[in-house]
Structures are given as C-alpha cells and as structure tokens.
C-alpha cells in the first residue's frame, strides 16, 4: 500500500520563484501540507485543473511563469476559483492560504 500525506498539489511550469515561495508560505501558515511538481509545457488552466484533480484533498494550484491560479475538484477546466497575472506578494500569500482554507471549509481571505 502506498501511503501519501493528504496535500495540496502545486503544478508548476517555469514558475516565478518569489511567487511560488509566497504561495507555499500561505499554505504553511494554515497548517496544510503541499507538494510541488514541475510539469511539462502546458497551459495555466491545465496545470491548475490537473493539480486539483490529482490532489487527494481536491485543491490545487497552477503556476506558469508569473501567472498563478487556484482550482478545486469539481469545477470545469478554465473556471478557476482565483487567478492572477503578475501578482503581488500579498495576492500570492492569500491564494495559497485560500487553497488551504477551501479544504478547511473556511471563507476565503
């Protein structure tokens, strides 16, 4: 049996490091685990949608360059819960926190 920690998946493609770090900090502050994975060339929508569907928790984030998006399982591809182009640090932190708050069934920041 393969035992994995329940975690939020973050699929990246040539991610902006500063943005990615803030997203991770946002999730960590909420006390939820996350896993990072660099993916082959694909669109932001695909990254986020796949991450959400692969995650046991049903919450995923896509980061492509300086574009970020939050997706949840059950939503259509492309209809991201939240997304930014060239986000500020604050926005990255909140998007990360929200991916965790979605699982905890808390309202978004």
């Amino acid at each position: 049996m393969i035992i994995k920690k329940p975690s939020i998946f973050i699929y990246t493609n040539e991610a902006d490091h500063a943005a990615l770090k803030e997203i991770c900090a946002g999730i960590e502050e909420e006390g939820v685990f996350f896993e990072l994975q660099e993916m082959e060339k694909s669109s932001l929508e695909d990254l986020a949608w796949n991450a959400a569907n692969d995650s046991m928790l049903g919450s995923g984030i896509g980061v492509k360059g300086d574009h970020i998006a939050l997706q949840m399982r059950g939503l259509d591809k492309g209809s991201n819960v939240q997304g930014y182009q060239n986000p500020t640090r604050e926005q990255c932190r909140k998007l990360g926190a929200n991916s965790a708050r979605a699982i905890k069934k808390l309202s978004f920041k």
Binding site: E28, E29, M72, D76, V81
Partner: protein, 605 residues
C-alpha cells in the same frame, strides 16, 4: 367609464390601487403598484413617488395617467416614527494592559512569562532573564526565525508576539518551540521591558490561565490587591484562543457606566424614569402614564440628546419649530452592542449594554391638501383627500377572504405599528404605536456590529444559508440544497442571504446561528411587544379576549416569519390571526389604497 386611483403614502412605500366604477356604483379592481416614498411622508416631495406609482399601475392596463378621473389620497395620520440607540456602558483599557483575540492561526501552545523585548533590541537582552519577543511586520517570517534561532543559546526566549499573520511559519522554522501569538495590529504600542504573560490555547480549547485571575496572579506574581484589579482583564479574556497580559502599574480594564439620564413623561399621570432601569421598567411606566402629551429627556445626558436629536431631525424636514413637535409614544428595547474597546491593541470588542428607542412623533396636521393641489395642477385630474388612514385600511382589510365584522387590523409598517378595531356598527377605534420595521433593522445592525443599515435591512428580509462546498449549501433550518452549476467561489464558506435575485454575501464573520437568533429576537422584541400593546389599547374594555379576528397588513406583515410569531402568541387568546390577503390577491399590502377606492363607491351611493 370612470377610472379611480387610491393612493396611500406610507413611511417607506407609496401604494396605488386602480379601480373602475360602473354606472350602478359597482367597483372593479384593475391593477395596483407600489414604489418607495420620496421624501418624508406628508411632504410635497411625495408627489414624485406618487406619479411613478400611478404611471406603473396605469401602464399595466395600457392606459395613461390622463385617463384617470379621480385620485383619492389618504388622510395620513400626522405621526412619524423615528429610532435612536444609546450605549449605557463603555469599556476602556488603560496603559495597554492586555491583548486578547482570536487569530485564525496562532502557533505553539501553553503559557510563557517574560519581559517584552522588541526584536530590534535583541542584542540588548541579557542571559538569565526570560523574554517575550515582539516583532513588527517589517521583519519577514524567515528573518524573525533566523534572529530567534541565533539568539536561542545566548537568550532565554519564552514566547513571541507577531504583527503579521505568520505564527505557524515562524514556529515551523524555530529550533526551540515556544507559544506564538500573531495578528496583533498595534504592536507598536507594546511597551519595551515590561513583564508580560502570554498564552496560546491547545487546538479546540480556549485559554485557561489568563482568563483566571489567580492564573494571572501565578504567572505575574501578583499580591491579593493586584489580583483584584486584574479581575476584569481575566473576565474579558474568557473564550479567547490567545492572550497577552502586561504588568503595567496603572494598567487596568474598566467598565464605565455612562450617565444615562432621566426620561420625563408628560401625560395624564406625569412621571419620570431613569434609562438605567432597563426597557421593561420603562415600558411599564409608559403604559401607566396613560395618554402622553410629550416625552423629553434630561438635558445634558445621553437620553436627553437622543430625544432632542429626534425632534431636531423632524423639525428640519418639516420646517416646524421644535416646540410644536411632540413625542407621543416610545418603545424601548434592551440590546447589546459590540463596541471597539478604546485602548485595545488588536481590535478587541466588548458587548456593551445599550437601549434602542423608537419614538412616535406627532407634528401638526400633515399638508396633504398641498400634495393634492400640486397633483391636481400637474395631472389635470380631480384629486381628493379622502378618509382617515385607519378606516381605509380596515375597509381594505375586509376584502380579505374569510373576514367579517367586528374586525381588528394590525398595520405593521416601517415606522409605526397601528391598530384599529371596527365594530359591527362601523365604529372605528385606532391607535398608533412607536416601533416597527426600522427599529428591527437598527437592532440587527447594532447587535451584529454591522457597518451599514442597508445590510441589516437585507438580513431582516431574507432567510440565510451557509455555502458549505461549491455544490451544496445548508439552509438555516438545517435543510441541504444541492446545485448543478458550481456556486461562485466568492460565496464559498460564507453565510449568504437567499434573495430573489441570487445570493448576498455577509462580509462579517458571524456564525449563521447567531444571525438567526439576533434577527428573530429583534423581531420578537419589537413586533410581539407592540402587537399586544396596540391591540390592548383598541380592544373593547382593553381586553384582548374581546377580539376574535386580527388581520395583519402593511409592509412588515409580508415578512417571512413575523406573522407566524404573532399567530403563535395570539393563539393563546383564541384569536384568529393571520396575514391579510387584500382582494384575495395582493397579500398584506395595498389595503389603504384599496379602501380608498372602495370608499368612493360608498360616497356616490
């Protein structure tokens, strides 16, 4: 054909009913409409709203306003409702002696004692003294963790207070775990070098040491006298997930009782009562006074200011000198208002005692005749001021299927609750009581600490639901609803109002149960109290048992729960009580307008 319009100008809505009179004096109802009243009831600015409503109603039957041969206005009672709120207590923190709040993610658990040391001054710390380190948000979580780890061997760091929301991030990077409190907004107010105790509760629990006076005494080594002075601090920290208590010599939390003042009632048996006595006592005195000529407050006190504010507001709209405005009835309601504690460091609030008052203001006769004249010249139609409002409302209410004389009506509007009883001989007794929908909105606004009245009005009108996932929500009655299309993420995890046009999000983080409780309590406090008060006044021999039928009309009778509340209460008196259904189709609205058209038939016969 003769087309007749009945127009009812209310405190908040203007209602119109269009009827057609045939040659034999029979009336056929054709259409109706309503829109918000423009300006204060009974002033010239009402004409704008009247025209809008008339146009609406006439266009429904493909006719123009010019086709009307008669417009009948209500002889509005010269009473207008107003509301005011006054807090009776205030809580003040002196010398920044405590922080107690519920950050969503504090870190670590347990309590710690030490001197406050700002992180900039970390190098000044000496070995052998325990420290609580305070860091502003100009330091990132990595910097804070690095600095603390560096000094871990040379300093005894017992706990950390952060300004940013980064407690877990810092804790995960510390080699030596300590309790960490975050989201302390006014960290700059923390005094350097003062002994302090901090506590973070275990997950799922609330703090236990700092919410106990002896716990504070143990941690900060207080003597018996000092322990006594920290008792209010302990009390105000009950139920928090994290807290900081500082040992400042003059520091304290004080509850001040504000000088509330006396209410003077001028009537058959003139008397006075102090606002401190509470709503129940005040209402007893109000009913004992009998017919009230005027009510005023002790000048220079809160209640005095409150009453003069109401009178002043009225005189400004009506251009009537203050002395001609009389408050003829009040409804006082006890309430609790969450007020920001002055001197607090993290935006803590405290529930303060308050009294909400609705007042019935009697002015001179309202200039209805002037409104009629201006309508006449603008529309070139005959306009008549016809009939007393309560009589018209009763006439309209009688069109509800299943009613007969004698009948009592309870007209619950925005500003006032009016009651009338018509006997079998057609004799009408009526009364106007202060307090209705607007007071309910005000109570909801203050008790929930909402930022605007509009939101409170929405909460009053619509049921609630909590969006629990993107595909389902739980209604306030526990029922679950699933949806096909995912719910907008903006509503995720939120409490929303279910309106006809979709959801409205409630910004404040208040549990749904609490909102429901406050809403129902506010409605009960105002409408149940007032219904009894009003009906007792008009009932034969002032005994409710002499009333057999009550029809609820007016805007607040449309509410989704008020009629049920009243039905329950009245069933104890064997009274048939229910929401009116004017002409069998309008619901509880439009009774006065309908009555105005009906009374025309009576006149030509």
């Amino acid at each position: 054909m003769t087309y007749i319009a009945g127009v009812d100008i209310g405190n908040s809505t203007t209602e119109v009913c269009i009827g057609e009179a045939d040659l034999n004096g029979g009336i056929h109802f054709l259409s109706s409409s309503s829109c918000s009243t423009t300006g204060t009831k009974g002033t010239l600015s009402n004409t704008h709203g009247i025209k809008t409503a008339l146009k609406q109603a006439m266009s429904k039957i493909d006719l123009d306003m010019e086709d009307l041969s008669l417009i009948r206005l209500n002889e509005a009672a010269p009473v207008i409702g107003d509301t005011a709120m006054e807090t009776l207590t205030e809580t003040i923190i002196t010398d920044s002696s405590m922080i107690g709040h519920n950050p969503s993610t504090p870190a670590g658990a347990g309590q710690a004692v030490g001197e406050i040391l700002l992180i900039d001054n970390l190098s000044r710390g000496v070995l052998g003294t325990a420290y609580i380190v305070a860091a502003s948000d100009s330091f990132s979580y990595e910097e804070v963790a690095a600095l603390l780890n560096q000094s871990a061997d040379s300093l005894d760091i017992a706990g950390v207070i952060l300004q940013a929301d980064e407690a877990v991030l810092v804790e995960n990077r510390l080699h030596k775990k300590v309790p960490i409190i975050d989201e302390v907004a006014r960290i700059d107010k923390l005094p350097d070098g003062v002994p302090a105790a901090i506590e973070v509760a275990l997950p799922g629990q609330t703090i236990r040491m700092l919410s106990n006076p002896y716990g504070i005494a143990t941690l900060l080594h207080l003597n018996a006298e000092e322990t006594r002075t920290v008792t209010p601090i302990a009390k105000s920290l009950i139920g928090k997930r994290s807290a900081v208590v500082l040992k400042t010599p003059g520091g304290n939390v004080r509850e001040n009782v504000l000088p509330a003042g006396e209410i003077y009632l001028d009537g058959e048996n003139s008397t006075s009562i102090n606002l401190d006595e509470g709503a129940e006592k005040i209402m007893q005195v109000v009913s004992a006074v009998g017919n009230i000529r005027d009510i005023s407050g002790q000048s220079g006190t809160n209640v005095g200011n409150m009453f003069s504010r109401i009178k002043k507001g009225m005189s400004e709209v009506d251009n009537i000198p203050d002395s001609d405005i009389h408050i003829t009835d009040i409804l006082a309601v006890d309430t609790l208002a969450p007020v920001l504690i002055s001197g607090a460091l993290a935006g803590e609030t405290c529930l303060e005692k308050a009294v909400g008052i609705a007042a019935m203001v009697k002015t001179q006769q309202l200039p209805m005749q002037k409104i009629a004249e201006s309508l006449r010249s603008e529309l070139h139609t005959d306009v008549k001021v016809a009939g007393v409002e309560a009589v018209m409302a009763s006439l309209g209410a009688l069109t509800t299927p299943g009613t007969r004389l004698p009948l009592a009506i309870l007209d619950m509007g925005g500003g006032s609750t009016d009651a009338a009883v018509i006997s079998e001989e057609g004799k009408v007794i009526m009364t106007h009581q202060a307090g209705a929908g607007e007071l309910v909105s005000m109570l909801i606004e203050t008790e929930l600490g909402l930022s605007d009245r509009h939101m409170a009005e929405q909460i009053k009108k619509y049921p609630l639901a909590k969006v629990e996932s993107l595909f389902h929500m739980r209604m306030e009655n526990g029922q679950m609803t699933f949806v096909d299309q995912s719910i907008d993420p903006r509503f995720y995890g939120r409490v929303v109002l279910l309106t006809d046009e979709g959801f409205i999000r409630i910004e404040e983080e208040i549990p749904m149960e609490k909102i429901v409780q406050v809403r129902q309590e506010a409605k009960r406090k105002v409408f149940v109290t007032n219904a009894f008060r009003a009906l007792q006044k008009v009932a034969p021999d002032h005994d409710l048992k002499n009333i057999s039928n009550v029809v609820l009309v007016g805007g607040s009778a449309e509410d989704f729960e008020i009629p049920e509340m009243l039905m329950e209460e009245f069933s104890n008196y064997r009274i048939v009580c229910g929401r009116g259904n004017i002409r069998g189709q309008e619901g509880p609205r439009n009774s006065v307008a309908t009555g105005l058209v009906l009374s025309y038939a009576g006149e030509i016969q």
